[in-house]
């Protein structure tokens, strides 16, 4: 295909860059292509004609029908939403803290979600495994607990942020808080049975596949509302590019900007973690990829860009984790690390695009 080659060539040489409009077009096309690819590829190989039949509700095989509609579709939508959510919150964190390695989880929100879950499990009695293996009521309360955990951390961080002037201080506080909470979770896990530990370990691998349509009915509105709040942070984030003093001189209320940013990040990162487990690298790599591709730090361009590329990268990770054709699967986090890591390295090493130190 000529188009991807062209993109790569332009990216590398920096000359004859395609205009932004062309770039948007190519990315949208790629996303659609990936969507269709994810739909047609899986551990069960379904011929294309059959897939098309099923899409038009003409298929005869009920099992295949279910595979497409109830297994692949929800997983694809989850990947799209999660990829977009994590990338947007990663972008926000990188700008707010002026740190190239910041990501959605720097505020310890993810740790809060994990702690919430761990506490619920202990509260309902010993012997119940940590995640994915619990009974009826515990399942519902697991989701609530993780959102509550994330929200609690959010509230603490928010109140700290009112008192702390400097964003760097806030970043450090968030990181340390996250570490403390994580170590609490470690202690809880340490005293658990091997089966419980295995469950927790599996949770840390991350997965888009556990989300069914009914769970998506909760996840999608959560992410969409998070994205809408994030939309209101685009202008403040642009002001913050020059630093807090300039931002204030341009009329930005730091307090309310921080509040909006932290709130949207918490909702976005917290709900993705609650449903899919902790998924790393996407939130850090995608903003860099977008800055490099569009050669700007303007959030009016980056916001839609990370939505598209984040969704696309998440889909690519999901397709790759599938090991198409085989029945084996790989943990999602391993794939996002393999894909995201080199991207970050590559972007940082390209000197022409000076990244925050």
């Amino acid at each position: 295909m000529a188009k991807p080659f062209n993109i790569a060539h332009c990216f590398i040489s920096g000359r004859n860059r395609p205009s932004r409009a062309v770039l948007w077009g190519m990315l949208s096309f790629m996303l659609i292509f990936l969507f269709l690819l994810a739909l047609s590829v899986g551990s069960v190989s379904i011929p294309l004609e059959t897939t098309l039949d099923i899409l038009m509700h003409k298929g005869e095989d009920l099992v295949l029908h279910r595979i497409i509609w109830d297994l692949r579709f929800p997983k694809i939508f989850t990947a799209l939403l999660a990829g977009a959510a994590l990338s947007v919150s990663g972008l926000q964190m990188q700008t707010l803290f002026r740190n190239a390695l910041a990501g959605p989880f720097v505020l310890g929100i993810n740790a809060g979600a994990g702690l919430g879950v761990a506490l619920v499990v202990l509260g309902t009695g010993a012997g119940i495994t940590l995640m994915g293996n619990a009974g009826l009521i515990a399942q519902l309360s697991l989701f609530l607990a993780s959102i509550l955990g994330a929200a609690s951390v959010l509230i603490v961080v928010l109140s700290l942020s009112q008192r702390v002037q400097n964003n760097v201080t806030l970043l450090i506080v968030g990181l340390i808080f996250g570490m403390m909470v994580n170590s609490l979770v470690s202690v809880l896990i340490y005293f658990s049975e091997p089966e419980e530990i295995q469950s927790y370990l599996i949770w840390t691998f991350g997965s888009f596949r556990g989300v069914t349509w009914d769970k998506l009915a909760v996840l999608a509105p959560a992410i969409l509302s998070g994205l809408m709040i994030a939309l209101t942070t685009v202008k403040p984030l642009n002001a913050l590019l020059l630093g807090e003093t300039y931002a204030r001189s341009m009329g930005l209320s730091l307090k309310s900007a921080r509040r909006l940013i932290i709130m949207s990040t918490a909702i976005l990162a917290g709900s993705v973690t609650a449903f899919c487990g902790p998924i790393g690298f996407l939130g850090i790599a995608v903003p860099h990829l977008c800055r490099g591709l569009f050669r700007t730090s303007d959030h009016r361009v980056l916001f839609p860009a990370v939505l598209l590329i984040g969704a696309a990268l998440a889909l690519i990770s999901e397709i790759a984790a599938q090991l198409p054709g085989t029945q084996q699967t790989l943990p999602l986090n391993a794939i996002t690390a393999l894909l995201g890591g080199p991207v970050i390295l590559w972007v940082i090493l390209k000197r022409r695009i000076a990244v925050n130190a």
């Binding site: 002026r98 209101t232 003093t245 204030r248 341009m250 009329g251 930005l252 990244v355």
Partner: protein, 346 residues
Amino acid sequence: MRKSKLSASSLSIGYLQPPSVLAQDLNLDLYGGELVCLLGPNGAGKSTLMRTLCGLQGLLQGSIEIMGRCLSGLSPKERASCFAVVLTERLQLGPFSVRDLVCLGRHPHTTGFGRLRPRDEAVIEWAMQCTDIAAIQARHVNELSDGQRQRVMIARALAQETPLLFLDEPTAFLDLSGRIEVAKLLKHLARNTRKAVLMSTHDLDLALSVADRIWLMGGQGAFQTGAPEDMVLTKAFEAVFCGKDILFDRMRGSFKARQAFSGVIALKGDGLRRFWTAHALEREGFKIIPQEGRQEPCVEVLEDGAGWTSRFRGRHQKHASIYDLVTAIRALKEDRDLSRENGGDI
């Protein structure tokens, strides 16, 4: 009766934590169309004063009024429509084009997503024209020279369309031509846009040459204001800067190191050549005395650029350049000193 854009009365500035008062009971005004230079040694409170005046820092006592309204009563957005700043902070940006950066200046005037309307575009164009950066608007900020970047930041501040413009040491890090460019630009802006421009600087020469008014902050809360020439004549600079090693030359309007004179010398000549010959001899430690007849030591400036002659310690020499002249005299002086040490005498 001119109306000031900014008026401060009984202003005290400083910090609460740890408590320190840098200056108190200040009464200041900024008028449109004027370029004010804020001078003073480090630590005197220049940055604090600027930050307090534009609302980035709280005042300890007194009041500040912006065009009749109290500063503390303004919302952040209203404040942003009054003041635009250019700071010395190094920018840490990813890839960002010059034009996009100038567009940021429209922040207080745009809504929601930050979409630019025709009026915004017009102001941005105007700002780029003023600062002569329209040609480089597509380039990335990180690729610019310091001077260019400074102009871009000024353009951004212009795009913010405020009656008051504050610049914190805008000529630091710039080379000579850069400094002059910026100073000229600011003067031009003050005049043509009727903005009140306040800039702090260490560059006394520049301040003397472009400022309409000078605010001079000495340490311990001392504050004086006036036209640059007024300040010279009232010995204001000496009071603030001079010490036992620093002198202020009121003729030339510059500082120099105080020197101990080690001898006298007579000088004959006129004009520019005489001026600079005297400069070199003073640098060498000689006090110039008026020439009376033939005396030693003395230096004569020859006409038509034929050179110099000197009579020093009995040696009568001719020199082609000031450097030769001074070096020869120095050599003789040192010989004499050496021989004195060795016990010889003349």
